[in-house]
């Protein structure tokens, strides 16, 4: 039996009705241009992200498009030319697949490749893997729907289970998933690049593209860790814990179907090599998450931790939550001797984070705190939520049991800033108008004293939000969007945040022109990243609306929002002198840096600022003695 025989089988068996054939051709033509562009962009993007540095990457071993422009388009042109025999074979196969008569796509690709190499003189010397890729890129968009139906068969229910588990455990922290402390990332959204990359797996229609995305998400993990801890070594044991975290946070709908799609239709060679390793690890992670139970989670013994109230110094931020949850109670305040309030800048900038103020040991200070208690029969999820709020970033905050003699009701946990983080304390903040005088934005886990205000420069009186903070706040919002988009947040939320941020940025940049406000040099790379993210988000939004259709959580009802956003982003890029490829020109950087000597406060106060006000009616305070019973 020859390969030609098998090809003949493909072509001879096709008793295709003319109408189907016609539709197929139209679809093929429509898809071809877009696909080619996508494939190129995807490959270039992945290579630029450093995928190429790993020698066994599938780009070097399988799909290195050395001469991709010419060869890829040549192969696709042949496949899409309705007059060619290859095209007819392809078309017949598509019909066979879509009518359930032959689902062995990979074998078809191999046989068609052999056929084309033999029959078409232009393809002599053409690398087989590239040809496979071109065939795959042509055939999969045409059979994708049916292929997903096959993959979905037994997985629908399990997929629902998996996504429910992801929702249930979405608040788990890195420590709770036992990620090696050395390898934990202290960003607001740890591993957000890996999460965002993995999320994009739903967009590609080809199994090999999906595998590339998995591989690239894994590379993001290594890159993110290497940036922070160059001496780290991530072996199989460590990697899986991180991978579970990423898969859990990515909350990919129908992940099991996608995995099944890959194992059914991908080139089996890919499943043996490096990309196979990471693909298998996704399978393991998905299975682990599916079977995850409360007993698997260390540390969060939520019940035990909720036994004592949390002592909070800024109850106003908890009010929205308390209003929604009748199981939460806030008690009257009392003075806690020996501790001074300390604000974490990260929490201050992130309005979604409830506890803003932590405490720091100080023999001479005292702080007013309110006990926040939760009913014993409150839902487990609520307890977990609270505990994770209070222990998130435990490297910054140490839970502490505070006891009062004779008054056990006042025993509670406080969030204590651990001494090794005190070096981040730079500027002092006023008690009354807390957010109004933040200077010098440092790291995401930056913390600051609350106390008397002292400023470096007397001219910089407390007032509006500095431009640096506004930029940083936008950046945090964007980072969160990147990690959770495009599936989770409603579409208008994504555009809304991005649009607001872009307008604020534009305002800041207008002020640069006027020379009235200088942007600190270090903000520039941040701005650049944000612009790229904004662009990326717009394209994802458009693409998800297009691909998911009705399944898109919030269909594009007002195209004008996205359009306005695109216009704003383009205007900003022009202003920043961003080149076509989105990189900030060197000339622009140096000229802005030259101007940037001082930080001056901008004149705009965003609406989300939460002023820290005392509790409504301060009852008489009682002194409390503290025993240092660290838990």
């Amino acid at each position: 039996m020859s390969l030609q025989g098998s090809l003949a089988a493909h072509s001879m068996a096709a008793d295709t009705p003319v109408s189907v054939s016609y539709e197929t051709i139209t679809l093929m033509k429509r898809n071809s241009t877009r696909l080619h562009i996508d494939v190129k962009r995807n490959t270039a993007g992945l290579l630029a992200k450093g995928v190429g540095v790993i020698s066994e990457s599938i780009f070097s071993s399988q799909y290195l498009f050395g001469n991709q422009d010419r060869s890829f388009s040549l192969a696709q042109r042949i496949l899409l030319d309705t007059g060619s025999s290859s095209s007819r074979i392809l078309e017949n196969y598509v019909t066979r697949f879509n009518t359930g008569r032959d689902i062995h796509v990979y074998q078809f690709i191999v046989s068609l490749r052999h056929y084309m190499l033999e029959k078409i003189p232009e393809l002599v010397g053409f690398p087989p893997t590239e040809l496979d890729f071109a065939i795959e890129a042509t055939v999969f968009p045409l059979i994708h729907k049916k292929a997903m139906e096959y993959a979905e068969e037994d997985n629908k229910e399990e997929d629902a289970q998996l996504i429910a588990q992801c929702e249930r455990y979405s608040a788990l922290t890195q420590s709770q998933l036992r990620i090696d402390p050395e390898l934990q990332i202290t960003d607001r959204v740890p591993f957000h690049r890996a999460i965002a990359t993995l999320k994009s797996i739903i967009f590609s229609q080809m199994p090999s593209r999906k595998m590339q995305i998995i591989l690239s998400a894994a590379q993001m993990i290594y890159t993110e860790i290497a940036e922070r801890n160059p001496n780290a070594i991530v072996g199989g044991d460590q990697f899986v814990d991180i991978w579970i975290y990423v898969v859990l946070k990515a909350r990919i709908p129908s992940l099991l179907t996608i995995l099944n799609f890959i194992s059914n239709f991908a080139n089996p060679e890919l499943l043996h090599g490096q990309s196979g390793y990471y693909f298998t690890s996704v399978q393991l992670a998905a299975n682990y998450i599916k079977n995850l139970t409360d007993s698997d989670i260390p540390v969060t013994n939520a019940d035990c931790e909720c036994e004592h109230p949390f002592l909070v110094a800024d109850p106003t931020r908890l009010l929205p939550l308390i209003q929604r949850c009748p199981q939460l109670h806030i008690g009257s305040p009392f003075l806690l001797a020996g501790y001074a309030p300390f604000v974490l800048e990260d929490a201050l900038l992130d309005t979604s984070r409830v506890p803003t103020v932590v405490l720091r040991e100080d023999a001479n200070a005292e702080t007013e705190v309110h006990p926040l208690s939760v009913d014993g029969d409150a839902p487990q999820a609520l307890k977990e939520l609270l505990v994770s709020w209070f222990t998130v970033q435990t490297r910054v905050m140490t839970p502490l049991l505070v006891r009062t003699p004779g008054e056990t009701a006042l025993a509670g946990r406080i969030q204590l800033l651990s001494p090794d983080h005190e070096e981040y304390a730079h500027a002092l903040l006023p008690n009354e108008t807390l957010p109004q005088a933040i200077l010098r934005v440092q790291t995401l886990n930056d913390g600051r004293w609350m106390g008397a205000l002292t400023l470096d420069d007397p001219a910089d009186s407390p007032g509006p939000i500095p431009s640096g903070v506004a930029i940083k706040r936008f950046h945090l919002a964007m980072q969160a969007l990147d990690a959770y988009s495009p599936i989770l947040p409603a579409h208008d939320h994504v555009t809304g945040v991005t649009l607001r941020g872009c307008r604020r940025l534009a305002q800041i940049l207008d002020e640069i022109d006027d020379n009235s406000v200088r942007v600190v040099g270090r903000d520039l790379p941040v701005i650049r990243r944000m612009m790229l993210q904004a662009e990326h988000l717009i394209s994802l939004l458009k693409r998800s609306a297009e691909l998911l259709g009705a399944a898109f959580p919030d269909p594009v009802t007002e195209e004008s929002e996205v359009a306005a956003l695109s216009v704003e982003v383009r205007r900003l890029q022009k202003k920043l002198g961003l080149a076509q490829d989105g990189r900030l020109g060197v000339a622009t950087i140096s000229s802005v840096l030259f101007n940037a000597r001082l930080v001056k406060l901008a004149t705009c106060v965003p609406a989300e600022v939460h002023p820290l006000k005392g509790p409504p009616v301060p009852p008489p305070s009682r002194k409390v003695v503290v025993e240092n019973n660290r838990l």
């Binding site: 066994e56 007059g83 078409i120 160059p230 001496n231 070594i233 072996g235 298998t280 393991l284 682990y288």
Partner: protein, 202 residues
């Protein structure tokens, strides 16, 4: 002729799987730290009797919580190295479980090697003697090696042994070639292949 094989490293957490992988695949000039940080999957290319053999080394997660899920890693492996720590009886017991599971769940006959690791530690700390390890390995038809992740000379013979056996077993054929042949196409009788009449889209 290039042959690629999948080799899984199995063993409890902290028995030194990752160190073995790192030491064995270390390159002379490793300048890029990204290369070092990624120690969960590595490839090693060997030349044996004029043939190029690629070993894809999979460092699997050994934590207790993954034991019931680890099948996805090893079910289609061509070879497995079962690693235990000579100073830890539990890790040796665990190896025996792995062997049972491998025999039960893997189609075909994967090449098995048992690595008694951390032999560089003082003899007084050893809990499992060479004899005990060797005896067990012989019983289950695995090759026994005493290794130390600090000394690549203890690792080379093991991987070489595996590679040679793979070569013998697969007769120089690509392992993935085998996978493919199990999923052959239904090919109908030869009819005249459609003539490729011009139209190559040029």
């Amino acid at each position: 002729m290039v042959s690629e094989y999948k080799l899984v490293l199995l063993g409890e957490g902290a028995v030194g799987k990752t160190s073995i992988l790192l030491q064995y695949t270390k390159r002379k000039f490793e300048s890029d730290h990204i290369m070092t940080i990624q120690a969960s999957f590595r490839s090693k290319v060997l030349n044996i009797a004029d043939q190029t053999i690629t070993l894809n080394l999979w460092d699997t997660a050994g934590q207790e919580k993954f034991h019931s899920l680890a099948l996805v890693y090893y079910r289609d492996a061509n070879a497995a190295v079962l690693v235990y720590d000579v100073t830890d009886r539990d890790s040796f017991d665990r190896v025996q479980n792995w062997v049972q599971e491998l025999v039960k769940n893997v189609d075909g006959k994967p090449i098995l090697a048992i690595a008694a690791n951390k032999t560089d530690l003082p003899k007084s700390q050893h809990v499992i003697s060479s004899e005990e390890g060797r005896e067990y390995a012989e019983k289950v038809g695995a090759q026994f090696f005493e290794t130390s992740a600090k000394d690549v000379d203890t690792l080379n013979p093991m991987f070489l042994h595996i590679a040679k056996n793979l070569q013998q077993q697969h007769g120089g054929r690509n392992s993935t070639e085998n996978v493919r042949s199990t999923r052959t196409l239904k090919i109908e009788d030869d009819s005249a292949p459609e003539a490729s009449t011009g139209g190559c889209g040029c």
